[in-house]
């Protein structure tokens, strides 16, 4: 058990809006092991970002955490006072945001923005903080750190800015790093570089990473384990190879099937029909049922529980019930998967 860094149990988060209560995260549980990378994938609006913001306790004012606990090495951070939470943020749990172009204060020299987080959590003199800041810049691959630390964010490219953000985030050697689509706003070559940087830094400081993305190519490359979210719930979770080679949930099939590949002979891109449900009124039964071509009658009445497939692999679909008809994943998936793994290999080599 001591191997578990972060344990999320039955987390439910909702937002009160003018239209009503939006149930953004519904009964989510997962755990994060020390030093591992867990990828959370899902469409936008599936609750992955809200889940992670809850881990930082950085939710907007209209949000409420309705149930659950988040144990960081045994302490429930949902019960910690706001003052103590500030010591956890940036120090124990850190977060990288999606858009590096807007994540840095445009009016402050980047050196100071890095020093700020060091002096906030470590009792060090300005001079030491400065030394550490220059080290960090070097570490994330900013050349000539002494000169560049005196520059403003607009003097850096998007990729460089994300490196700077990473240096801020890793300044205090956090135990958990949350990366919310850190490469989405960057171009492809830059994406690969940033992911390599994260991977190498992870080894150096032995941090656990929660990686939010919708890019399965990135997932195959970085993740040890993958959690698939749909309509505020985790519907399948398992080791990366299990998700890629033996997916069980029809939504995961659809997701894998709909990713673009390099196979130009494919007639057209697969799309999952329909749209995600309205979380103002979460449907009874399986939320995915209306879009599921393998939907069972039971899906409309009862929500499927998590079925265990292996020690590490779980999925929430009635198809796994003993009474359900046997269904094989669509054949086309195999071919696409091969293609897909090949492509993600491109990342590994770079």
């Amino acid at each position: 058990m001591s191997n578990i860094q972060l344990d999320v149990k039955n987390l439910s988060v909702s937002f009160s809006t003018q239209a009503g209560k939006v149930h953004a995260v519904r009964d989510v549980s997962f755990s994060l092991h020390k030093g591992e990378t867990l990828a959370i994938v899902g469409e936008s609006g599936s609750g992955k970002t809200v889940t992670c913001r809850t881990l930082m306790r950085l939710l907007s004012k209209n949000a409420s955490i309705d149930a659950g606990e988040i144990l960081l090495e045994g302490t429930d951070i949902l019960k910690v006072s706001e003052r103590n939470m500030r010591h956890i943020r940036g120090n124990d749990i850190a977060m990288v945001f999606q858009d590096p172009m807007t994540s840095l204060d445009p009016t402050m020299k980047i050196g100071r923005q890095i020093e700020e987080v060091i002096t906030l959590h470590r009792k060090v003199k300005r001079k030491e903080a400065r030394k550490r800041m220059l080290e960090l810049l070097q570490l994330v691959g900013i050349e000539d750190p002494r000169r560049r630390s005196r520059q403003y964010p607009h003097e850096f490219s998007g990729g460089q800015r994300q490196r700077i953000v990473i240096s801020i985030v890793l300044a205090c050697n956090p135990k958990v790093l949350i990366a919310d689509e850190p490469t989405t706003a960057l171009d492809v070559t830059m994406q690969a570089q940033i992911i390599d940087l994260l991977k190498s830094l992870q080894k150096k400081i032995n941090t656990s990473i929660i990686f939010i993305t919708h890019d399965l190519g990135v997932v195959a490359n970085v993740a040890d384990r993958v959690a698939v979210m749909y309509a505020g719930k985790i519907i399948e979770i398992g080791r990366a190879d299990e998700i890629f080679y033996d997916p069980r949930h029809p939504y995961t099939w659809g997701l894998l099937n709909s990713m673009p590949t390099l196979d130009t002979s494919a007639p057209s891109l697969y799309t999952i029909p329909g749209a995600p449900p309205n979380l103002l009124k979460p449907p009874t039964g399986d939320a995915f049922a209306p879009r599921n071509e393998y939907a069972l009658a039971v899906d409309e009445l009862y929500e499927p529980p998590m079925f265990q497939i292996s020690d590490t692999h779980y999925a929430a679909t009635w198809l796994l019930d003993a009474r359900a008809p046997k269904v094989n994943p669509p054949a086309v998936l195999n071919k696409r998967r091969e293609e897909f793994i090949k492509r993600s290999g491109l990342y590994a080599e770079s």
Binding site: K61, R86, R89, G90, F97, T102, S103, M108, E116, V169
Partner: protein, 312 residues
């Protein structure tokens, strides 16, 4: 450096052109005026008028008078007041300018300071009753004309409670309190409203979110990241603030009987004192043009994103 030289010289050319146009326009407007500067023209004989016109230089052709005037003001001579005991305009205004500057500075410092604080509080407590209260204060401050505010303050604190002097500029600082308050309401309301809007936007930005994720306290991140980003655009409202101060000073000085420029201006306007009106117009315009110039330079200096000389 070269950029700076170009930028500054550009702005200086603009300043001088603007002032020249203003001087020219006011000169010709004033000389087209229907009234006459003499109180009792009907009683004056043509010969007497002739003498007076000679004395004030009104007998020469318009264009000659214009060139003489330009030449004179370049030498710091704004002519002789036609109404106020034949004083030189520069002496007349010189004795009054200190009072107006003190009043204006006190009002602008007090007003913007309180305005910034109110704006920050409102933004931090966005959508609570505190925010509503601050916004309500701002909109009432913007709606209540400064002369009404001045009279109200005078009535409450000087007439009814006799706490502070009712007017005049005789009791040092204490006699400046009420006029300063009256004059600062409008900059206070404008600033608090402006800072609130800016701050709400800044507080919703990604870099503030990152600062929160760093573990900074709300107050600290507002004072470091929030304030620097919200204050930069405030430079753009300094010009309008100056204008409203100039406007305000005219009534506030009148109501509190303060011997300043604003009071002199209204007096001169009511008595067709051309040379003084012109001098005050030029003085106010110069002030405004200089403020606009400083504001432009300041903006270039404090926003690292702007390269000198670039238009925003």
């Amino acid at each position: 450096m070269k950029r700076w030289l170009r930028f500054i010289s550009h702005r200086l050319v603009y300043m001088v052109t603007t002032l020249w146009v203003i001087v020219t326009i006011t000169f010709f407007l004033m000389n087209l005026l229907p009234g006459t500067p003499y109180n009792n023209r009907d009683k004056l004989s043509p010969a007497q008028l002739q003498v007076l016109d000679e004395k004030y230089g009104l007998s020469e052709p318009l264009f000659t008078r214009y060139t003489t005037y330009i030449n004179n003001i370049l030498h710091g001579d704004f002519g002789i007041s036609l109404q106020f005991s034949d004083q030189k305009v520069t002496t007349l205004l010189g004795s009054r300018i200190g009072v107006s500057i003190q009043l204006g500075l006190q009002a602008v410092i007090f007003g913007t300071l309180i305005g910034i604080i109110l704006g920050i509080i409102a933004a931090m407590k966005h959508n609570t009753w505190i925010d509503t209260f601050c916004s309500l204060f701002a909109i009432v401050g913007r709606s209540a004309p400064n002369f009404v505010v001045a009279v109200l303050l005078q009535y409450i604190f000087a007439v009814s409670l006799s706490l502070l002097p009712i007017g005049l500029w005789k009791d040092g600082f204490s006699s400046s309190i009420l006029p300063t308050l009256a004059l600062s309401i409008s900059p206070m309301a404008d600033t608090s409203r402006f800072i609130r809007t800016e701050m709400i936007e800044v507080l919703g930005s990604d870099y503030i979110e990152l600062a929160r994720a760093k573990g900074m306290s709300e107050l600290r991140l507002v004072l470091t990241h929030g304030l620097r980003n919200a204050l930069i655009p405030m430079v753009t409202i300094i010009g309008p603030l100056t204008v409203s101060l100039i406007t305000g000073s005219m009534v506030v000085e009148n109501i509190f009987a303060i011997p300043g420029i604003g009071e002199q201006f209204t007096k001169s306007v009511l008595s067709n004192d051309y040379s003084t009106i012109m001098a005050v117009t030029i003085l106010f315009s110069t002030l405004l043009v200089i403020v606009i110039f400083l504001m432009d330079v300041l903006y270039q200096l404090i926003d690292p994103r702007i390269r000198v000389g670039q238009k925003t």
